[in-house]
Subunit: 496 residues, 2 copies
Amino acid sequence: MSYQQLHQHFLKISHFNHLSAICDWDQAAMMPAGGNDARSAAMAELSVLIHQLTTAPQLAEWIAVAETETLTADEKVSLAALKRRWRQANLLPEELVLAQSLANSTCEHAWREQRKNNDWDGFKPNLAKVVELAREEARVRAADSGLSRYDAMLELYEPDMNCAKLDALFGEVKTWLPEFIQRADANQANKNLLTPTGPFSIAQQKDLGLAAMELLGFDFEHGRLDVSNHPFCGGVPSDVRITTRYDESDFMKALLGVIHETGHARYEQNLPLAWAGLPVGEARSTGIHESQSLFFEMQLARSPEFTQLLAPLAQRLLDRAQDPAFTVDNLYAFNTRIKRGYIRVDADELTYPAHVILRYEIERALIEGEIEVDDIPALWNEKMQAYLGLSTEGNYRDGCMQDIHWALGLFGYFPSYTLGAIYAAQEFAAATRAIEQLPAKIAAGELGELFQWLHDNIWSKASLLSTDELMIAATGEPLNARYFKAHLERRYFSVK
Amino acid sequence: MSYQQLHQHFLKISHFNHLSAICDWDQAAMMPAGGNDARSAAMAELSVLIHQLTTAPQLAEWIAVAETETLTADEKVSLAALKRRWRQANLLPEELVLAQSLANSTCEHAWREQRKNNDWDGFKPNLAKVVELAREEARVRAADSGLSRYDAMLELYEPDMNCAKLDALFGEVKTWLPEFIQRADANQANKNLLTPTGPFSIAQQKDLGLAAMELLGFDFEHGRLDVSNHPFCGGVPSDVRITTRYDESDFMKALLGVIHETGHARYEQNLPLAWAGLPVGEARSTGIHESQSLFFEMQLARSPEFTQLLAPLAQRLLDRAQDPAFTVDNLYAFNTRIKRGYIRVDADELTYPAHVILRYEIERALIEGEIEVDDIPALWNEKMQAYLGLSTEGNYRDGCMQDIHWALGLFGYFPSYTLGAIYAAQEFAAATRAIEQLPAKIAAGELGELFQWLHDNIWSKASLLSTDELMIAATGEPLNARYFKAHLERRYFSVK
């Protein structure tokens, strides 16, 4: 049976992806600097192999024949997912892939220094080349899929999502977000807040992170925690590798980072074994993945109830039982502090969507050819003024040059961050309706039903449902921003 | 040019071997237990790929054509090494490889429990199957190479070595070794010796190990130290991963283990970059590799001069400045203590060769068909009595069932351990002749010239010379046991 041949072939690819994921983790978390050149050459060889396997000539025929075979409903979904992966891999002409690889790595490499030097003029021509090739990629993908150019890029990360839906969703958020930010800012200005002061030893912070992972059900038989410069969740579902970075003056950064990655990790660890190694067995999308990390970090960990668990843990493991900054109330205030700022990765829950919507609006126009690279700084400044009341005029370093994404040719990825936050709020609201007395249970450390809800509704579904189907099955309605708005209102404007 | 095609092809293989080595290390040192099944499947896929590449059909023609091309002298040696690798990989019929894989893993898996239970009767039929297939392998290899069956197996690990040479070498050692052991045993019975008593914290032991690696020139830009159940030296020359295992009651075990692996590591780290990825660029043999670890551990680290460096380091990093067990004299006595025992891996420098010669004599006769599996226990007991004065009658666990090698189908490997010790003594004697005042320099921590000697004479040569050529170039004469005997006499019988 051709479907079985495809199945075996994709399992083979997944074995090589497994080794690639472990070696990627090693490169970020373990490898000494001098190992980099030989490692990069070895990894490039593996990438070529995986690309060859994904574009093997026999796949076209196997897929065509499999589509005529009698398959179960799930197998049909699996075949469609597998075909989608195959089309995406086969679509781009090799010259374009090579040209992009060169332009992106040139741009990203130079950007590291240019950003430090606020050197927009140096960055501009490199980015223009990257954009030109990304537009060409979008054109090829759009011609194949019948989607608009930006939609065709978005589809790589967030299938079933498109600009029309995003405009509606983000448009609604924009009607209240700037006012929310101003109001929260004003509210908090009058509040007393103690900042926990370090130093906090790395050994103690690590123990605290591990204790939080334990509390959150991380399966240490199938994963581990390590250190890397840029925290991530990697590895494979049977062996999930999460990383963090410790700052001795601020324990909360690593702790919430670990909790965030634990959300990603539990999704991976609980994907269905029956579909392991196949595209349909993977996480639904980058947005749904982010919804799990934000469910853990934003919905759960920063809640007043969970803070009742976190505060005594931090007091005990950091030796701060007597420290007034470590009370439940103060840590809750600390973790819901709002601060308008220039930098997306440092942004809080409330201002983060503004950073994302701004980038979405600019990158969409760029890819659709409505604006040029030259137009970016002025647009960036204008939107920062409108959404956050901050000027980035002449400040490229903390403005349009702050992220690595565009330098690397990643267009269509940014929306996932805020989609994740909106998905997460809607999921958490559904779980709250489904589980009796959920807030009290969280405060008591009884998290089993909540994890079971996530397991049943999100994790075990992998990519067997479309995103809309997934959200309707889990929450009773398609994605919408009402729950996100209600969550922010409750957290930032309810009288406590 | 065909030689260039071969070069490229073997570089490609080395890239996959690189990833395999890193994932092997990960599996031993990092991977949580639950990751094992998926990892093993992924690694098996990679093994199949590497085997396919090593046996690719076009190689036969490329090699034939390359042999007619105009090559430099070094390229000719490289081509021969590459051809040898190719022949070894292509020689065995696939059915035999599969049957061995099954029989060996069945035998080894059952052995883990059977050894604990002293269950020779259970082990015997499994081992008989392993031996039957190993004999078949030896027959195929012997037919191809024109060597005797055991020589053909030995050649896999120690090219240029054969039974005739080994019999001469080990035969000579046997003329004085049993008497040396008895005499040293008697000498030491009267000596006072303080055993350093723990607990020694793992953190302190790790710092001590790292300090020793630093002293011994380990390049931390191209390698690291971690923990695994069975210590080893893995990774790749640009990124060497050594491991150890800590015992809180005995710091010396991990320390000397780390020094041993550092010897392996420096060989790997200093292999010539120009030949990286090619067979000719690899270490000469398992025996020469072992000579580097034993050069570091036995010749250097247990010497009275090096103990003058090690003692203050241990005193400082383990907080034992006032401990009488940590004087130079006592630590030297501790590290040169002799103890006749049943277990090879626990054996000291003086008794170790007896364990190896015994195994060599038995496995050689087994492979040549002169004895059967049934004969092993009696032979083992007889030789243990003769060489070490110990009986293993009825004690299979601590006798012929103690090692994993035969259960895994590894025949021809054991001689490498003692060959390594003999090579190392001859190398150290040559270095002592070449470097003025070497003992004083060692005691003063001036190790640069010694490492330069190893670099110039061993490490940088990789497999460019035959083992005989290597030893003659480095020491002025072919391998012989005189220096090993002189070393043991000096260390164990000179009046101090």
